[in-house]
Symmetry: D2
Subunit: 134 residues, 4 copies
């Protein structure tokens, strides 16, 4: 099971001098996708951080297939790759408005007790909300 | 009296599809300049924030004269425009490696007690360090 | 007469360590607003650039009133301040989801013949499309 | 054989609300490293682009080990992982001012004839300059 984002427009400031969206921005798009997904499950990442649980990125991979350009509309499919324990493992596929595959990717994020700076388990409400997806 | 930064190279990721450094990045360059200046006066902005004094930007102006390009080396002149009281008022001039004027600008920053979210006066050590410049 | 954008969410990557949206990003938001406005008038900025007319920013001012935070939803009002001749002069007001004023701003942009790198007049189709607004 | 960059300071605008350098910025730092290396070999990437050879990123991986913070000084080791043919395969290690490993990474970049948008071989001058490193 997969979550699909609303289309996200490539901004002028996202481009570089090749006219491509700069390759680093895809990591920001992955982040938008997973946060939009959590919001759609009524999980507030903002609240989770206020509760002292952080979710830093532990690893990230991007495989670029076709460039995107200013004003393109990108849609991101996100999937959970594993049952969430101490970390979340997402995979991504980005398509443009012509249904062309722009890139794929993977990220791992680890739950962190912000005060102790120590790994913790996935918060219960998030685990429950994600259950249909793993 | 003026502080002049070390040359700062325009990064590939700073460019946009016109091949220019994106105009929003000059505000980041102004920030680099004032922080480098403070560091040269042995004022750690990082420590100031840890001590609970923040310095958010209250207003900013940029007047763009000539574009800058990937790999350009920009030098920033910073000046204090006023004796620091509750705020710092800087002016900037950026030149490229050909001594051409790239842009000028102004920023005002206000001292803020981070906990109370209330304006405060310029910390004493910063005021003293800046004395030769106003 | 004024154009009002769809709400734009502050992204996690827009924040800085104060927890504010970094002040440089407002210039990117102003850009989104004016391009969304042009698109709503069926003016493709992308096409205009392909036709060899660029629209670089000549000056920009931002007056910050209240910070914005991750997940805030910002709405931008754009207005034309002057009849477009060789340049476009916009003013902006950004409000958050609590209808609080986040910042105001001004930008001037100049029409440029990209090949000759020389100023030109506002393209006729854009001038006509903007007529109701000045 | 390895190239090691000059220390690169984490900018205030690189941070996010966790106080970490945002994870997407490491891809920009990898880019700085490989371009600085090429410059040190007297290969101008800027000139290469003007000659019609682009070098877009085809894949990227980052393994985050320890966060970096505002004002940290990062040093990047770059290595060629393979003899350059139609692509360049780099690996990276970033250390902070305490000699702590911040992250490791990999990128593949492909040579592209910009006009034809077709893959090409590594330009001869770059191949020769890199010879001691593979």
């Amino acid at each position: 099971m997969t979550y699909i984002t609303k289309p996200i427009r490539v901004r002028y400031s996202d481009t570089d001098q090749m006219g491509y969206m700069h390759h680093s921005n895809y990591l920001r798009f992955f982040e938008i996708a997973r946060l939009e997904w959590m919001a759609s499950l009524e999980i507030s990442y903002k609240q989770m951080e206020k509760n002292g649980i952080w979710l830093p990125v532990v690893s990230a991979e991007v495989y670029y297939k076709t460039p995107s350009y200013f004003d393109d509309e990108l849609t991101i499919k996100v999937k959970l790759e594993e049952r969430p324990m101490a970390s979340l493992h997402f995979s991504y596929e980005i398509h443009n408005q012509h249904q062309k595959l722009v890139c794929t990717g993977l990220t791992k994020l680890a739950f962190l007790d912000a005060k102790l700076q120590r790994p913790v388990r996935c918060p219960k409400n998030l685990f429950e909300a994600l259950k249909p997806y793993f």
